[in-house]
């Protein structure tokens, strides 16, 4: 059953190339391993509505049984992209979000629903800050996002 991701991603791609919710755009999907998406946050003063944030999706052969790896990218050349400030987003782009790890992931999710979740997580944010221990984590972390054990689940932030 190797490579179940193929058919599913092709279907997702066909749908994404059509209509997407406001603020979410497909940048590129050169193959069935890596896609890039851009996000805009529409009504939160912390994130100017014209700023775009770049998300990188990496899919394993096992997608969607296995969650994709999703991180924010920082681009310094044109177009410039920054990593949004949020208490669950580290300055290296790693996102601490339960639906992206094995416990919280459901294979029913897809690229679009992940984008919507991240977008709404930013839209509802009121704290102009990074996670505690950000500097230390960014300096020392060598693990891939899916192998990191984030310690607490806190629906309130």
């Amino acid at each position: 059953m190797a490579g179940m991701s193929g058919k599913r991603l092709q279907k997702e791609l066909a749908k994404i190339q059509g209509v997407l919710p406001p603020g979410i755009t497909l940048v590129s999907a050169p193959d069935l391993q890596t896609w890039h998406m851009d996000l805009r946050i529409l009504d939160n003063p912390l994130y100017p509505p014209h700023d775009h944030y770049r998300l990188k999706f990496s899919f394993s052969k096992n997608y969607p049984i296995e969650a994709p790896e999703v991180v924010f990218l920082r681009l310094t050349t044109d177009p410039r992209r920054d990593i949004p400030i949020h208490p669950h987003i580290y300055s290296n782009g790693i996102i601490c979000l339960d639906l992206l790890d094995a416990q919280g992931w459901s294979p029913v999710h897809n690229v679009e629903s992940i984008c919507i979740s991240i977008q709404s997580m930013l839209a509802s944010n009121t704290k102009d800050e990074r996670p505690p221990g950000d500097a230390e984590f960014v300096r020392s972390n060598r693990a891939r996002p899916r192998d990191i054990n984030f310690l607490y689940h806190d629906p309130s932030v």
């Binding site: 049984i65 669950h88 339960d98 919507i116 997580m121 996670p131 221990g133 984030f150 310690l151 629906p155």
Partner: protein, 576 residues
């Protein structure tokens, strides 16, 4: 991991997660109350109705197994061991032991007297564990008049707590069955694969005609390929078995065993049953997996958490690993688990202060030339000035072994010069370093002894082929090496123990035993390091010294364990 970030719940799942977590919390409360109830009933019922278990457990010696708790022999006060303290917070009732412990006095009387530091335990192979489960399932199935398949599910659901299961079942059969996913509905509509036309699977987007699909009664329907792949991921990569959730977004429904049987791919059933077996051992307080990497055995021991201040339950696995049943660390007799934990923490915290001590090099106290320790023995001879001294205390070696010499004891200085805070803190540091020094030295020496043994072993192999000595004839080296390892392991922990020990009239006996073992070990270690060509001639003497070491070790452990049981030791910290 330096981070302690609270993970954010995705909005889409937040609502459903909150909705289900509340009833779950309530459930825990209810079951706690039930557990409390079952304890008091247990207490009342125990003396009057000792229950006989079926002896058919698939073990070679049922007597051993049955007498574990009864012959735990924790001294006089143990006779009241079924009487749980009123304030006992950890509810750890295990009917097997309570039941088994109440009878079979003959087996206990006939058994050879155990040493104070020995506990009874049993090692189980995976097959043993399987048959234990089967026996219990059969027993309970009989009682509840349920098929064994359903009983297994019920037992796993209550984490193998038979008492609780039976009570809750008797209390409200329907509710119990429902909670375990065995309700009427399941009986009337057993899980089955349904072919659906015009259905699109939300996971793979497949929508062709004749698609095989599956859903539990939560109605989250997916194609069976996806369901199977999902289960494969959970079982193979995430090691889950007894509590796998529905793949639907935010759905908390646990996939019941019948559905799993229907869907788990054949090549995974072994792995799946292995994992189910793991949950059996994990759920039982009296069972623990051997912590050795790749070891498949489990050990059963009746020592409870609350006994751990009175006994250090070292058990020995089939794979030769000796470990503490209380904390699963390598054998740490005679030091109780709490003190081990404290000591390790302290050594970590103070590692910088302590590091310089365990270094391999020191200076000769007489001529200051650098000396490297490359064997386990503490008897050092300076190559330059021929000064013979003790690596531990840097004192003259000639004075070791005379009755007044104490290398193991820390001499508290008289009160006058420890008056101010600085002096006091210096003294407390010195005291710590004294014990740490000796602790670390044995750890390191054990390693060096092992190196020497391996070197010697190679030479012995060579010797065999050239001189005609048989492999059997060189086994005394192996025995000596093992004795050294074992005794050093014990000695190491005597120093952690001594660090927390407050002086009373028992301490001196302990220190004498410690010193005797220490000297016996140094003697053997010194002989062990002799050049290979001399070793053959030393065989008899070495065997004697090996036996002597082991005897000194038993004496020390027995005395320490006896006093621990009788609570004669006074510690300078709380045993908490």
């Amino acid at each position: 991991m330096p981070i302690a970030t609270r993970k954010r719940k995705a909005d889409s799942t937040t609502a459903s997660a909150d909705a289900t977590s509340e009833p779950q919390r309530k459930l825990t409360k209810v079951s706690k109350a039930l557990q409390k109830d079952s304890i008091s009933q247990e207490q009342a019922a125990l003396p009057a109705t000792p229950q006989t278990l079926t002896s058919d457990k698939g073990m070679d010696s049922d007597d051993d197994f049955n007498s574990v708790a009864s012959s735990m022999d924790l001294g006089e006060e143990m006779s009241s061991s079924v009487d749980f303290g009123a304030g006992e917070s950890d509810v750890d009732i295990d009917d097997d032991y309570q039941d088994d412990g109440a009878f079979d006095a003959t087996a206990k009387d006939l058994a050879p007297k155990r040493k104070h530091f020995e506990v009874e335990f049993k090692v189980y192979s995976p097959q043993d564990i399987q048959s234990q489960q089967d026996t219990q399932i059969a027993e309970v199935a009989n009682l509840l008049e349920q098929p064994s398949e359903a009983t297994a599910i019920l037992l796993r659901h209550t984490r193998w707590n038979k008492e609780r299961l039976i009570e809750q079942y008797m209390d409200n059969q329907e509710q119990m069955l429902d909670k375990a996913g065995l309700g009427q509905e399941i009986n009337q509509n057993p899980p089955r694969v349904v072919v659906k036309n015009g259905f699109t699977c939300d996971i793979c987007c497949e929508d062709g005609p004749g698609l095989e699909t599956f859903a539990m009664n939560c109605n989250h329907r997916f194609c069976t390929d996806c369901y199977r792949q999902y289960l494969t991921q959970k079982i193979k990569d995430e090691g889950e078995a007894a509590r796998i959730k529905c793949p639907g977004d935010g759905c908390r429904k646990i996939i019941d065993a019948k559905s799993l049987d229907l869907l788990v791919p054949n090549e995974l059933t072994d792995r799946y049953h292995q994992l189910l077996m793991r949950t059996y051992v994990d759920d039982k307080e009296s069972l623990k997996w051997c912590p050795a990497p790749n070891c498949v055995y489990a050990v059963e021991c009746g020592v409870k958490k609350r006994d751990l201040n009175k006994i250090v339950p070292t058990v020995h696995c089939e794979c030769k690993q000796s470990f503490c049943f209380g904390c699963t660390l390598p054998d740490h007799q005679p030091c109780p688990c709490v003190l081990v934990k404290r000591w390790i923490k302290k050594c970590e915290d103070d590692s910088e202060t302590a590091n310089w001590i365990s270094a391999n090099t020191k200076e000769c106290p007489k001529c200051n030339s650098t000396i490297e320790k490359n064997g386990g023995c503490n008897h050092m001879t300076c190559r330059k000035c021929k000064n013979e001294f003790c690596w531990m205390c840097m004192g003259l070696w000639s004075e070791h072994g005379t009755s007044w010499y104490n290398c193991n004891r820390f001499e508290e200085r008289s009160g006058t010069d420890a008056r101010d805070a600085q002096a006091k803190s210096r003294q407390s540091l010195e005291r710590y370093l004294h014990y740490y020094n000796r602790y670390a030295n044995h750890e390191q020496s054990a390693r060096l002894d092992k190196d020497i043994f391996h070197k010697t072993e190679r030479k012995m192999t060579l010797l065999q082929s050239t001189s005609g000595m048989s492999w059997i004839e060189v086994q005394f080296m192996e025995a000596a090496s093992q004795a050294l390892q074992q005794c050093r392991q014990t000695l190491k922990w005597t120093y952690a123990f001594a660090y927390y020990l407050a002086r009373n009239n028992q301490t001196e006996i302990f220190e004498d035993n410690q010193k005797d073992l220490e000297m016996a070990v140094e003697n053997l270690s010194e002989m062990f390091e002799k050049p290979t060509d001399q070793l053959a001639g030393l065989k008899v003497e070495m065997m004697d010294k090996t036996t002597y070491c082991m005897r000194r070790r038993v004496i020390l452990l027995d005395d320490t364990a006896k006093n621990l049981k009788e609570e004669t030791w006074k510690f300078n910290v709380e045993l908490r």
